[in-house]
């Protein structure tokens, strides 16, 4: 399969949204909590609606809107979202008021907007788009499932342009709870030093990224999507490696052609050991770069990686903010993204540069 990424847009803890040079200046955080940098939404969303929308809805709707605009598409033939946590802010508001007010005098607004399909629904409403609309909510498979659904629709000729997004939001409640699960580092660190602190835990993140996927090329394309694999709870590391290799082979991916790996290292010593093992064996120590120091860890963070990979392939160069000595001189043609969450959800995406190179200096 070859599908075309016609546009990519992201709201993240970095300056990624709108017309900006690719990750020119990385934003530093020193509290293990990377919150999305939100734009002025008035350009994208009706001012009356903004007030009622929670952060994840605003982020999702604005990102989707920018993505469609960049693609020159008004009505996609499908809208598919992936979110592990859904609309946490509204869920938290409704649960806490329900408890505090002992189930009385509640307003419906937070409940109405708490359902996991709210972002997809609001996009449909904004576009008056009555086409296929689906939402996947499976941990760190949520975005990958949405992407797969989009690919399948394109292959079925049920669609020619699919809007696909991944998003999750951090709230005070969710951060407090995830912290108690030991997900984050105990000591405050700078996100710039995430990969230099070999301790337990990572840093929290959030964001929204949308893509316009099409089955036909266009002159706007960022990159081509060549493969997508997911592996659930591998029995052991050998089984993981076998399953990744088997899946990539069935999708005709030649690992020799990969010239850049983007991996989802998050600074947690145990978590990153899996990346080390996969990197030195099946990925043959190919040059790699990381991204979670920029967006933090969250279940749909692979959508940020896809945004980054698509932009690198489009630009034909790697921005200094993610480059390291091994990759700084590479002009990647084929990029493999590998991400895993808790060794439960593993995913691989393979992208390639479009035929027409744009990096003619």
């Amino acid at each position: 399969m070859i599908m075309y990424i016609r546009s990519a847009a992201a709201i993240s803890p970095q300056n990624t949204f709108g017309d900006q040079p690719l990750l020119a200046d990385a934003v530093e955080y020193n509290n293990n909590l990377l919150k999305a940098i939100e734009p002025d939404y008035k350009t994208y969303i009706d001012a009356k609606l903004i007030r009622r929308m929670s952060r994840i809805i605003r982020m999702g709707v604005a990102t989707a809107s920018q993505c469609l605009q960049d693609a020159g598409v008004q009505q996609p033939s499908a809208i598919i979202t992936g979110t592990a946590y859904g609309c946490l802010e509204d869920t938290g508001i409704f649960v806490s008021r329900m408890i505090e007010q002992e189930e009385q005098m509640l307003s419906p607004t937070a409940f109405i907007q708490s359902t996991h399909n709210t972002v997809g629904a609001q996009i449909a409403l904004m576009l008056q788009c009555t086409n296929y609309n689906n939402t996947f909510v499976h941990g760190a498979f949520s975005f990958e499932n949405a992407l797969l659904d989009g690919v399948l629709l394109l292959k079925e000729n049920e669609a020619d342009t699919v809007l696909i997004g991944g998003m999750d939001e951090l709230t005070k409640y969710s951060h407090d709870i995830l912290k108690r699960f030991g997900l984050y580092k105990r000591e405050d660190i700078s996100n710039f030093g995430l990969f230099n602190v070999p301790t337990k835990g990572t840093i929290a993140g959030e964001g929204a990224a949308f893509f316009l996927l099409a089955d036909q090329p266009s002159d706007r394309d960022y990159a081509r999507l060549e493969a997508l694999s997911i592996v659930y709870k591998p029995k052991n590391i050998e089984a993981l490696k076998e399953e990744i290799l088997r899946s990539l082979e069935s999708q005709s991916v030649d690992l020799n052609e990969i010239d850049l790996i983007i991996d989802g290292r998050n600074g947690d010593i145990k978590n990153d050991a899996i990346y080390d093992e996969v990197q030195k064996t099946i990925f043959r120590n190919k040059p790699s770069l990381h991204f979670k120091h920029l967006c933090g860890e969250y279940p749909t963070a692979a959508s940020f990686a896809l945004w980054l990979a698509a932009n690198i392939l489009k630009a034909g160069e790697i921005p200094p903010t993610v480059a390291n000595d091994k990759v700084k001189n590479i002009q990647p043609q084929k990029v493999l993204i590998y991400n895993h969450s808790q060794n439960i959800h593993h995913s691989v995406m393979v992208l390639s540069a479009t035929d027409v190179k744009k990096n003619i200096h």
Partner: protein, 407 residues
């Protein structure tokens, strides 16, 4: 993303499993459907401020009893317990010999994950963020509920969770079918689960769409819906697997479609444009004409708005060839994310046993329409094609068409 995609490849339903307010398994539910026993009553297992006031349709087992049947800890989310029980029944019913050698997936839907535990966790957590038992919130995510059931069944080739409000499990079922058509999987257990929670009860209550009596779908005097809970799954198999089965499959999933109403976050458009689009696209995919449909299992929640929108869409698509129709939510209440799965099981049973289920408590048919849902059980019917509707918040509208296997 393998090759060999053929979207016209048939997908069969080889097994069904259910736990609902009208029975803890397929046989019990069938018995209730035939005898007209509804599952609503006063709240017994959920504890809420509204327990004396709002009737609900609960599964008639405590968490301890469900855990014993599921073979799981009684600390497990009720949503996951229901899922485990129904999914296992479906898999056993399909009785696939060589299941270990096949690529088997689990696509399950739910709307609020482990909220039944989370809302208890929050009582202590709100007083002090260091308080509340973490085990009550560890499986809050929708996907975790799916994984508990998938792990219990030993399924790991492909796992996914869909959440599109009340249309969730209809979408799960046809996503599963597509994974088979794309030759990514041989077998998919697909459907959904949701348990009663204070969160959803209060949510629907603030919208003022909960009937204080037993719901009356498609009645002129309907007053709203009754919340239900349960889980329903079908086992979807490829042609190759179907050919290897020792017993005949229930039916074929011959059509499906997902459309959006794009009208309002919670309300349906007056003309039911999303539901009409979903029904007509599903019908078109099945290659059938409106007069071919023998029975519509209506979404039929019993709210003023839904039944009017759905009825308008039915009229537009089927007039003057109205099939027989009914809302089995008059038995089970609205099981939300499970409803598409529960009603897919009822649809498969309607085809297998030649049954049309009654729409209970219907006294005055809606004055807007020339049609009237069935009010008595019909047996010995020739039921070749069934349409099942599932519509939800966010404008999500999905329709499935099930067809008797020819020959």
């Amino acid at each position: 993303m393998e090759r060999n995609t053929n979207i016209h490849t048939p997908v069969y339903i080889a097994g069904v499993g259910i736990i609902s307010p009208i029975g803890n398994n397929v046989a019990e539910c069938l018995q209730s459907l035939e005898s007209g026993n509804a599952g609503m009553g006063p709240m017994k297992y959920l504890s809420s401020f509204y327990s004396g006031e709002i009737p609900v349709a609960e599964v008639k087992m405590s968490n301890d009893e469900l855990a014993a049947v599921a073979g799981a800890s009684n600390k497990t989310s009720r949503t996951a317990l229901l899922s485990m029980i129904a999914a296992r029944e479906a898999l056993l019913d399909a009785d696939i010999d060589n299941i270990e050698s096949l690529r088997t997936g689990f696509v399950s839907a739910n709307t609020v994950g482990g909220m039944d535990k989370t809302e208890n966790f929050f009582v202590d957590f709100l007083k002090d963020p260091q308080k509340g038992r973490l085990r009550d919130v560890v499986n809050h995510e929708c996907g975790k509920v799916t994984e508990i059931a998938a792990d219990a069944l030993g399924i790991r080739s492909y796992i996914s969770t869909i959440s599109t409000a009340c249309s969730s499990s209809a979408n799960a079922i046809f996503y599963g079918a597509r994974l088979i058509k794309h030759n990514m999987l041989d077998v998919v257990i697909a459907g959904g689960t949701d348990s009663m929670t204070k969160f959803t009860l209060n949510g629907f209550n603030t919208l003022m769409i909960l009937d204080r009596g037993f719901c009356k779908p498609f009645d002129d005097n309907r007053q709203g819906l009754n919340l239900g809970e349960g889980a329903g799954y079908v086992v979807l198999v490829s042609q190759k697997v179907a050919d290897s089965l020792s017993k005949r499959a229930y039916c074929q999933l011959s059509g499906y479609a997902n459309r959006n109403d794009a009208y309002h976050q919670t309300a349906s458009s007056p003309d039911g444009r999303g539901s009409y689009a979903a029904m007509s696209a599903a019908l078109q995919m099945s290659g059938l004409q409106p007069y071919d449909i023998d029975y519509i299992n209506l979404h039929g929640t019993g709210t003023n708005n839904n039944d009017l929108a759905e009825g308008t869409a039915v009229q537009r698509l089927f007039d003057p060839h109205y099939p027989k129709m009914s809302s089995t939510k008059s038995f089970t209440g609205h099981t939300l994310g499970a409803s598409g799965g529960v009603e897919a099981v009822f649809s498969a049973l309607a085809i297998k046993y030649g049954l049309i289920y009654p729409n209970l408590r219907l006294q005055t048919p809606m004055h807007e329409f020339p049609f009237k849902p069935e009010t008595s059980l019909l047996k010995g019917e020739s039921v070749n094609h069934v349409m099942s509707n599932s519509f939800g918040f966010g404008g999500n509208c999905s329709s499935l068409v099930f067809s008797k296997i020819a020959g």
